[in-house]
Symmetry: C2
Subunit: 199 residues, 2 copies
């Protein structure tokens, strides 16, 4: 589930909300799964991974990550990303382009405090995406953290939210024979330009 807080009244946000509710009514599973793609200019490589989208606060889309992970390095070097969602139950695809930045610390603290101790222990203990010798080492490190009450009290500085603010939305709905409906919204100063696209 995505939590909406003071959602922007701008048109593509309202279209998104309607589309989300429609998917929810149709019992779409993993409705908060979103693929985030970044570019690493040092390696000249595009990389993608699914994350759980947790919040949309006004026009900020928020998920959580380790700030020393490979994706965090790419976000820093190239703060433009793409995001894409596909909801099978309604045959809807939402394509986004956005600028990404770290979420305000206060918000990350609040979210950290709302999570289970078990999840937070992993956020603290893991050097996300580093190569390891064995899965057993990970488990040992995890269990040690879980037993360290002091460590568990505070959000570590290397873990928190990423916020992205879209400047382009495409809403795609599949239709028979691929006569798909495609609507594009592009941010133009304070407005959103609207276009229809060929299927």
């Amino acid at each position: 589930m995505i939590e909406f807080i003071d959602l922007s009244q701008e048109k593509p946000y309202q279209v998104f909300k309607d589309s989300y509710e429609h998917a929810l009514e149709n019992k779409q599973s993993a409705i908060d799964a979103i693929s985030i793609s970044s570019y690493n200019p040092e390696l000249s490589e595009v990389e993608s991974r699914f994350v759980n989208l947790k919040y949309i606060v006004n026009d900020e889309w928020i998920f959580f990550s380790n700030y020393a992970s490979a994706k965090s390095k790419s976000f820093k070097m190239h703060p433009q990303i793409s995001a894409v969602i596909y909801w099978k139950k309604t045959n809807t695809q939402i394509r986004i382009k956005a600028k990404i930045f770290k979420t305000a610390e206060k918000f990350s603290n609040k979210h950290f405090e709302s999570r289970s101790t078990e999840k937070n222990a992993l956020a603290i203990s893991s050097n996300q995406s580093q190569i390891i010798e064995s899965f057993e080492n990970i488990k040992t490190k995890y269990l040690e953290t879980l037993n360290n009450k002091d460590l568990l009290q505070t959000r570590p500085s290397y873990w928190g939210g990423y916020s992205f603010r879209p400047y382009s939305f495409e809403f795609w709905t599949g239709d028979k024979f691929r006569l798909n409906k495609r609507s594009l919204y592009i941010k133009n100063k304070d407005n959103w330009d609207y276009y229809l696209l060929e299927p």
Copy 2:
């Protein structure tokens, strides 16, 4: 559904096949939906979209597209892409990095001939991703093409397959408290180096 033809015997392909069959047994829907992300160096932008993965022929992963579409331009300028699949039913994510190129014409012809006339009419009639005035125009153009028997006989040169050949695979399986299992395979000449990653 993905059609496997003479699938590579190399390790990550066999891991993929097992993972696919496991998801299929668990009745995963949209099992062939894969997010493809590309980089446009002119715009310095990452872009993503879902496509239907149709075939894996040995080590070539194949989907079909309009060759004049926005993504085709990005593939030409920057032939490295990322691909990602998420199967909710088995809580499995597969992350791929690959080089992309046009599929052999013979193969594209064969696939075009295997498709329904209704789908091919759209492949012929659509200038994919172009801005349009109204959806009615698209429908009219589509229906005109559908009635043109001559046009429908041959695959147009602007539509065909894209093949990508992975050089990196990550298999990710979600576990409780985010103690996820992550295995990385990286192509090293004719072999695949194998690593475990921190969750």
